[in-house]
Symmetry: C2
Subunit: 821 residues, 2 copies
């Protein structure tokens, strides 16, 4: 494929002696030798993990019985990652750097595990994995073996806060760790496979949100090893010039280190990494000394080495080293083909285990001295175990932000704007410990008050009109980029390194990060099983612009299904709250911000809403998570005729209105009003720690009375949670059913049968005992619905009462009826 | 924020007379005037849609009662999009181009609707929206109004196949349309907000997969209008040089057109677009004449105009034009503030509606002549209504690929590799009409046989080792990039323009595109309501590397929850199949490839599996979608003691093994074996067209006997589908419950209680009538399970019988027992 850059293309194919942007030979001959040895020792360990269950140091000839029966694990990216890691150690020692390592390439665990083992951290954390032949054998066998550890940098890996099972998040995670960590440098390996993902491709723009005064630095090393599982990588097959342009365009200064001649590569990598560190420090000093933040062209490295670097180029007549065959287990026939076994043995012996690990089975003190000590070892950096250094938030008292509710259901207030003032003061009280993320929706989500305490971080250029309400600042606390992936990745990195925060997003588009949130759930779930891991602050996701107010944006903006995705995750880590009003929202959010190791999903509409509970009532209700609302019930504590249940703010308002409608027709009906804040209350207590017992359930919902349950999301989720419950066949759930159009809120609700009229009719349908009176009431309700819908359709808005309607607590009121008929 | 490029930064702030890379003034003064008029007419229509319900041509002074009560819609991106669209029309006419327009910016409908209306297509499609004052009024009122059309390029929009409700997919969709469409140019507006999303950021690399001989071209216009909802955009606030580098780095040749002086901008845009078209044609000719495909630096345009271009710069003392306030409804106080109403009126009158639409309320023939005619009008291009030009696949007979099943459950075969030969021949038979997409997993998914018919498209550089099994070709039919987003976007574009294809992906990471698939479901669902839309080929998603064989990759690779996401979509468009063996896989896939307007999700493991059904049996079983397997049942058509049901290949195999175990202990037990291929059979027939009636349900599952249902995915999904069924309390579902580790398949199953032993014990627990015999059998099964688990743990693999175990059709066999005890 001819490009216009023939010469530049030829350049990318050549390996051999190092070619690098930064020149210099900072290492003495002796140092080069030491790095060679350290590199070999690391590579030996990597192969050992993949292949050996016995004979860890090859002290006897390699036999089939020494090999794992089923070999699993990946070698391809290990050499380049190890190479980078060990050369950075020199600089950590020389410049006393607080450094973290993020391993982006898929299945890159052999690289980081070998380093953690050589640094001694592994044996400190896992005492049975000692630095001797016996410990090494356990270390080898446990890798990618049942009951052992995975081929990613899983939670069991010291120094890791990024597993990399799903690819694409290394850069955004890394940036998350360095925000408000001014001394930290996060060295981040980016796989060239991973670099093809969307989330990674846009995360390079994170520099436009990094302030060199208050934040640390990310030093990315794009690892161009040329191949993915079975394909070349895009970035390894474009011209040198294109690649350079790409990173200049992303705002970075790329430094190339390319080749496969180990000795010259040592010099090139050592010189280049040092240049980058000095450049980072120079920019930081310049900004910090002057007090003037700016966006430098931050350095990054493009490291081009062959895939499986140092592996044999060909095995059995096929390319191995420098080809995709080196991706996973590089030689696959070792247990069946004696020649393959031989090849492996020769390859492994080429790394000189005997000499390097000596009699006692560990590297020499001299080699070990290449590593930093204590917490300067990247595998021991406490930032990667952020819970250990996390400080609780300095929380204002949420009660101080209470919405006045003189009479339940009689006033309308802006729950979300009110919550924004609480959030604003959290930001104010925690100027280096809390960040708010959002994909350009914070203002739209009525959270604009936060800008009074912290503007939006912006390190791009400034224009004159920004003064007119732009709310931009290099020192902002709110981070907005139109990439849910980047926001989520930043936040995860920020939380996992011990800080606090929240993501706010439109409900429909949170599905964009389903998979990221799944992976975060899995990470924190696994962390619970790893003794030395401390709990980290929860991931708080606030969803607004909810389905029931996306009538005008139409069908694409209607999807409340994120809750289904969350419900599938481990009950240990997921929590879902749907506060019905403003004081409940405050109470719930206060709880979430104080919690640890959860993914808290809170769904609350951003529009003004009827307020039901005083702060004291809200606290009680949210603490219970579910409860009867006696002020809206007419069963007076007795067995009701009907349970009207709801979950979600809009859903609650319609459910209450339905009660009103029913009471207009049947003033003596015993209706019980039940409201759900904490969705997991619905599930059986053996399935989730928040779940009710069946006795508690029956006390609320009865075992045999009709329950009309108005739900915020897809109705089937409630059935999924309650199928085991006594009387579950009596639960009639209404929710969103993919019936949308360009609508008014009323029409949208009617289409989905979640409006007050439908709910009331639904209730009547479940109470045959009402007989003719029921039928008459039903007809009247239907007429009201038709009239309201017609009004709504004609005027393009709902009848006014539907938005400012207040609960007629004094008793049955004909306001509704009058307004329509 | 000082960058190192001060001068370049100043450049990006200045508007005024056009600055452009391509020079030239191709338009006469008269032409400039015409374009001015056409532009004004279009802008007038855009504002009219947002504001007016009456007085469409301002023939009387504008009054509050003419304004929509609730104004919705977005103006910000309309001017730039209109500008691009209309200038491309000149080239369509001049060079007779087959062109499609993709509108990427959010809520960009006023732009495309105004053009469809002016081109006359709108009135052809919607006869009541005539080109006169009356029709214009309907046209205006329907926009963003209940019962009307949305503010995106929804399915109701002629010429659209990209709605843009969720942002990020314009480029990948556009590429999908031009693959195998050599004459097509898809002009694609990319919003600078959208450009921040991950999917968009990586989609620029699509040029590495586009062959100038057999494919058409995408001409992207990055619309730098500077602002999103409430924030500046990243790409508008970096230096000119960085921006240029970025696109050079992505492999494009960027041409800049910047300014806000309309007259000079006309010349610059006309010249630049023409240059781009000629460059595209030159590259295509060069490649086609020579027969040598190459990857040119394809042209793209960076159009920098103010947001809401031509809007007043300031209103009420605040920036409007060229600021984010112009994003949505630009002047918001028109119904409450007479001054605002006046400002709007003056602004609208500035577009000269009286002169431009004249007495009869439509533009002059002279202006209309700027538009192409017939199908050359972009709003009439049949490619956007791909169903109308779609050709059915030339399908080989899937029966010819049947796996031989001499005895049910007695042989093991590779279902997926076998299906690959069928897929290969589909590719062979349909060399310009079918593509296979995958994120670098096709070979890993055992579909490698397809490369015999079509290699992997690759327009990057080639290395010598590629000859050694690289399977790359510029003329490939398989498309692999490590971006599920890009694969899915390409495929959607390819299907919506009438062609066929399939995406193959690992099951766990398909969640990455949850949101894209949701949006595609919504698109095809809405299309069903639009009369003139023809059905398009289905989106086929084959999920392999399933949860039950992700034991060794660990927890991050275990998520079968995509099915939950799909189940929430409209029953009109979603289908889910879990074929239990190889012949069922063939039958199901044949059905999917022939279907239209569905999203078909097929889950099938890639490893060898026991085969149960002959081709005839498989066809019958898949046609029914669910059924009793008499060959594995002992109820002989009578009422059974127990129903053992399964759905999914691994799940079925374990369920059958459990039947075997039970029969070893209770040879007389009447067990009914039920297998589910079509998941929606489980749901009530009123909720999905595939659903069973309750009578059909009971005939299979009984109304009161215990049902042990082994399910592939999260167990709650079955409960969600069956909660209404008779006897639903007797259904005990086992599935994945987020209990994973680095395991063997057996241990993973045991953790989740989906293994044969757990299932058999489960059954016994539900049959108290077994009494002491049951307890004894349970103990024995528990011991077997412990022994098998211990073996598995010790050896790192399952006991061999667990993988090659064959169903003992002759009767109860003690093979299992022997193997362990």
């Amino acid at each position: 494929m001819a490009d216009t850059h023939k010469a530049e293309i030829e350049e990318i194919k050549a390996f051999g002696k190092a070619r690098s942007t930064v020149k210099g030979e900072p290492l003495s001959k002796e140092e080069v030798e030491k790095y060679n040895d350290f590199f070999k020792a690391s590579l030996y360990l990597s192969l050992g993990m993949i292949y050996l269950k016995q004979n860890p140091l090859l002290r006897e000839p390699l036999k089939v019985e020494h090999i794992k029966g089923r070999q699993l694990g990946h070698f391809g990216s290990a050499p380049g990652q190890i190479f980078t890691y060990m050369h950075f150690n020199r600089l950590i020692k020389k410049y006393d750097i607080d450094a973290l390592f993020v391993s982006g390439p898929g299945h890159g665990a052999p690289a980081v595990l070998s380093q953690a083992y050589l640094e001694g951290v592994y044996s400190e954390v896992y005492p049975e994995k000692t630095e001797d032949p016996k410990g090494m054998q356990v270390f080898f066998k446990d890798f990618s073996f049942p009951g052992g550890i995975g081929s990613h940098a899983t939670p069991e890996t010291p120094g890791s806060l990024h597993e990399g099972g799903e690819l694409g998040y290394s850069i955004s995670h890394a940036f998350g760790t360095v925000f408000d960590n001014p001394e930290l440098i996060t060295l981040t390996m980016v796989g060239d496979g991973e670099a093809e993902t969307g989330p990674l491709a846009t995360a390079w723009h994170s520099t436009k949100f990094l302030n060199p005064i208050c934040d640390g630095a990310v030093l990315p090393v794009l690892h161009l090893n040329g191949y993915k599982i079975n394909n070349p990588t895009v970035l390894a097959r474009i011209s040198h010039k294109e690649l350079e342009n790409l990173f200049l365009g992303y705002g970075w200064q790329p430094y190339f280190v390319e080749g496969d001649d180990v000795d010259t590569m040592h010099q090139a990598m050592a010189a280049t990494l040092e240049h980058c560190v000095l450049e980072i420090r120079k920019y930081q000093k310049q900004a910090r000394d002057s007090g003037k933040p700016f966006r430098p062209r931050w350095p990054m490295i493009v490291l081009r080495t062959p895939k499986g670097w140092t592996a044999p180029r060909k095995v059995n007549g096929h390319y191995l080293g420098g080809f995709w065959r080196a991706h996973q287990v590089p030689i696959t026939g070792t247990t069946t083909n004696p020649a393959d076994l031989k090849t492996l043995e020769e390859w492994m012996r080429g790394y000189e285990p005997e000499r390097l690990f000596g009699e006692e089975g560990h590297i020499s003190a001299e080699l070990k001295a290449l590593c930093p000590t204590g917490n300067r070892r990247m595998s021991a950096n406490p930032v990667a175990n952020g819970g250990t250094i996390s400080k609780p938030l300095n929380m204002p008292d949420f009660r101080d932000y209470a919405i006045k509710v003189p009479k339940a259901g009689a006033t309308v207030d802006a729950s979300m704007s009110n919550f924004a003032t609480f959030l604003r003061d959290i930001i104010k009280n925690n100027p280096t410990n809390f960040r708010l993320m959002g994909p350009d929706e914070t203002e739209s989500n009525k959270l604009g008050a936060v800008y009074e305490a912290g503007k939006k971080v912006w390190m791009g250029e400034y224009f004159e009109e920004d003064e007119d309400g732009g709310n931009l600042s290099p020192f902002g606390r709110v981070m907005e980029i139109l990439s849910e992936h980047t926001c989520e990745g930043w936040l995860e990195g920020y939380l996992l390194s011990g800080r606090h925060g929240m993501l706010n997003s439109y409900e429909p588009f949170i599905h964009v990060i389903d998979s990221m949130v799944n992976q975060h759930c899995k990470w924190i779930e696994k962390c619970l099983e790893v003794e030395w891991r401390a709990k980290v602050p929860s991931l708080n996701i606030l969803l607004t612009a909810v389905v029931w107010r996306q009538d005008h944006n139409g069908f694409t903006h209607q999807d409340p299904g994120f809750l289904d995705v969350i419900c599938n995750k481990s009950p240990e880590v997921v929590r879902i709250y749907l506060p019905p009003d403003g004081n409940c929202l405050l109470s719930v959010m206060d709880h979430c911000f104080r919690s640890q190791n959860y993914v808290n999903v809170v769904v609350a509409d951003k529009q003004p809403h009827i307020q039901y509970l005083t702060m004291e009532e809200a606290i009680e209700h949210c603490t219970k998570g579910i409860g009867i609302w006696p002020q809206f019930s007419t069963d007076a504590g007795e067995e009701p005729d009907l349970v009207m249940a709801s979950c979600g703010d809009v859903s609650t308002s319609e459910s209450l209105a339905a009660i009103d409608l029913l009471l207009q027709h049947f003033p003596d009906m015993k209706i019980r009003c039940v409201n759900v804040v904490d969705l997991f209350k619905l599930i059986h207590h053996t399935d989730h720690p928040h779940g009710l017992t069946d006795a508690e359930w029956t006390a609320l919902f009865t075992a045999n009375k009709p329950v009309i349950f108005n739900f915020h999301s897809y109705p089937w989720l409630v059935h999924r949670l309650t199928y085991k419950r006594p009387g579950s066949a009596n639960i009639h759930v209404r929710g969103y059913k993919e019936k949308g159009n360009i609508d008014t809120p009323l029409e949208l609700a009617i289409r989905n049968q979640t409006d007050r009229f439908s709910l009331a009719m639904d209730a009547i349908d479940r109470m045959p005992q009402l007989g003719n009176r029921g039928a008459a009431a039903r007809d009247a309700l239907k007429s009201q619905q038709v009239a309201a819908a017609a009004y709504s359709f004609e005027h393009g808005v709902d009848p006014q009462f539907l938005s400012d309607w207040a609960w007629p607590q004094d008793g049955v009121k004909a306001k509704l009826q009058k307004a329509i008929s």
